[in-house]
């Protein structure tokens, strides 16, 4: 667990970058620091590994005051990922990933073996190992950056806008893989971003900072969306927060309709239906067809692919989106294996939303509701 206790950073010219920040980043969880530029989020992050020295206050790592530890040793125990990856251009991908184990004195063969495993883990082809960073795309470099930060298996990771410099599609991929990796690894992570959507997607807990380095609110994402403490937070979390909050609500049992399906290559022209769902041999939905517009058999060209598909066990947002995006107005719901279980209409999803509970205000058992760190009781986390 990382604990900020009334940490302040004032620069010689009098600028206050971080003002009396008190915050807990629980072990094994992702704590996101988010806020507009000038809110001191990066400064706060860098104070953890003492790249920046606090003017006052203390930061403890599992109870140890970081100011009492040797800087180089402290840093070797903390993974660090930055925006443009900051890879060493003169070293191969493999050597980059092996950096910290080598600094810690692990022999070359052992650290390279581990690095190869990590490259695979972050989704990079082992063929990249001998390449130099300049030969990689931005997204690939960022994966190497993550692998390098993980190489010495540090319990703590600091990530400073690691996915901001890549295009939106790659960013989304990297975020998803990052979450999957974190599920396996359970690191204690502090993650800085200016993007509230990223914060909400990735954070177990989100701390919003305002300009001048003051902590405005810290809460679980769903709670933050439901109960912003003031106008600043409300503005910052955005207008469509009601819709986005659905991302955190599991889908209850929906009244699913059985859908008539056809296989690829089957003739549909005679069918008496406006829209028919096409599935493959494993009953995975492929898309919709309009029988009256199809001459003869169903081919890939006539498939309408506009509708999204939601998992029955997924969030309500996906179920609603499936219904809204479907050309037949019937949202396609699948099981975890991707097989069709039925369809649902938007008003039925809305009924489910109406019936669901919103995160309760001031729930004492709700660690995310705490605005001051010491009020929460998640020391065991």
């Amino acid at each position: 667990m990382i604990v900020f206790d009334r940490v302040t950073k004032t620069y010689p010219d009098g600028t206050v970058a971080v003002d009396e920040l008190s915050l807990e980043a629980p072990s094994g969880k992702i704590t996101v620091l988010v806020g507009p530029s000038g809110c001191g989020k990066t400064t706060s992050l860098r104070m953890v590994n003492r790249m920046i020295k606090p003017t006052s206050g203390t930061i403890t790592l599992d109870g140890r005051d970081t100011s009492t530890m040797k800087e180089a040793e402290l840093r070797r125990g903390i993974g660090y990922v930055i925006q443009h990856a900051g890879l060493f251009p003169h070293r191969t991908v493999l050597d980059n990933v092996s950096t910290v184990p080598r600094l810690l004195g692990v022999d070359r063969r052992e650290s390279e073996k581990r690095s190869m495993d990590l490259l695979e883990r972050v989704g990079l082809d082992p063929a990249f190992a001998k390449r130099y960073p300049a030969q990689l795309s931005g997204g690939q470099q960022q994966r190497v950056g993550v692998a390098r930060a993980l190489a010495a298996d540090p319990p703590v990771m600091l990530m400073d806008e690691p996915f901001s410099a890549v295009d939106p599609v790659v960013r989304e991929q990297l975020q998803d893989e990052f979450l999957r990796l974190q599920d396996e690894l359970g690191k204690t992570i502090i993650f800085v971003t200016h993007d509230i959507d990223e914060a909400i997607k990735l954070g177990d807990q989100v701390a919003v900072l305002r300009v001048g380095g003051k902590l405005a609110q810290v809460a679980e994402p769903a709670y933050l969306l439901a109960h912003p403490v003031d106008d600043f937070i409300a503005d910052f979390v955005g207008r469509d927060r009601g819709y986005r909050a659905l991302s955190f609500q599991p889908t209850p049992r929906l009244p699913l309709a059985q859908e008539r399906t056809v296989a690829m290559g089957e003739a549909v022209s005679g069918l008496d239906a406006e829209w028919v769902l096409v599935v493959d041999e494993a009953n995975h939905p492929l898309g919709w067809v309009e029988p009256r517009r199809v001459q003869g058999e169903v081919t890939t060209e006539v498939l309408h692919r506009g509708g999204t598909v939601a998992r029955a066990s997924g969030p309500l947002r996906a179920a609603l989106d499936a219904a809204l995006s479907s050309p037949s107005r019937r949202g396609v719901i699948v099981d975890d294996a991707g097989a069709l279980v039925g369809t649902v209409r938007a008003h039925e999803v809305l009924n489910a939303i109406e019936d669901a509970d919103r995160p309760a205000l001031d729930d004492p058992d709700h660690p995310g509701a705490a605005t001051t760190p010491h009020a929460s009781s998640d020391a065991s986390a």
């Binding site: 660090y80 930055i82 060493f88 251009p89 003169h90 070293r91 390449r131 130099y132 300049a134 030969q135």
Partner: protein
């Protein structure tokens, strides 16, 4: 041409002396310029005085240095050490700024991530900053090498043996064969130095060539 064949031994001996007098200072000068350049980068207040101050050394006429140094060092006027010291000063003059700028060209995010990985200052210098500054330092070193080869010949005025003696010989006797041989030998020597530095730089910077064949 016959003169050249007849004096092959002389040409060989003087070329080797020239290599020694121009080459050794290049190595010593680089070793001195590295910490000075690092200091100029580490403490920004030192950058201007260091780069301008050491740069000024280059404006001291070489002949004056060759004459002054024996008095300062307590050496004999014909001692080759005088030339080595003088050429080292010129090399330092040219390289301090180059080293400082080369180190300064290492991208900020690379330095930052090196620090965050837990490199100590010294380790970071040798493992990250110096290798990345090689292309810039190498460019400065090539200028210094050519300049050294050329300036060393001035020491011939004092009679210190190297290729420059062919110029004083030829001038004194109004006989141009040694002059041409001396000039050609100097040019060849400068080229050889340059090629060595370029090859060494290539060997030290494999990543720069790999950049071309992006996958």
């Amino acid at each position: 041409m016959t003169w050249f064949i007849d004096h092959l031994d002389d040409v060989q001996a003087r070329t080797l002396q020239h290599v020694y007098l121009a080459g050794l200072p290049l190595v010593i000068g680089l070793l001195i310029a590295l910490p000075l350049g690092w200091l100029a980068r580490r403490y920004p207040v030192l950058y201007a005085p260091f780069t301008a101050g050491f740069g000024l050394l280059y404006t001291i006429p070489s002949l004056a240095l060759f004459v002054l140094l024996p008095g300062l060092l307590g050496t004999k006027i014909l001692d080759p050490v005088n030339v080595v010291v003088a050429m080292t000063l010129y090399t330092v003059a040219l390289l301090v700024r180059t080293v400082a700028d080369g180190l300064g060209a290492v991208p900020e995010d690379v330095q930052q991530s090196a620090t965050a990985m837990g490199y100590t200052r010294v380790k970071r210098f040798f493992a990250i900053e110096l290798p990345l500054a090689v292309p810039v330092i190498s460019a400065g070193l090539r200028v210094a090498a050519v300049s050294n080869v050329s300036i060393v010949s001035v020491a011939a005025v004092l009679g210190i043996p190297q290729l420059g003696l062919f110029f004083t010989d030829g001038f004194a006797r109004a006989f141009y064969d040694p002059l041409f041989v001396g000039i050609i030998a100097c040019v060849v020597l400068a080229l050889v130095f340059d090629v060595i530095i370029v090859l060494a730089t290539r060997a030290l910077t494999p990543w720069l060539r790999a950049t071309g064949d992006r996958a």
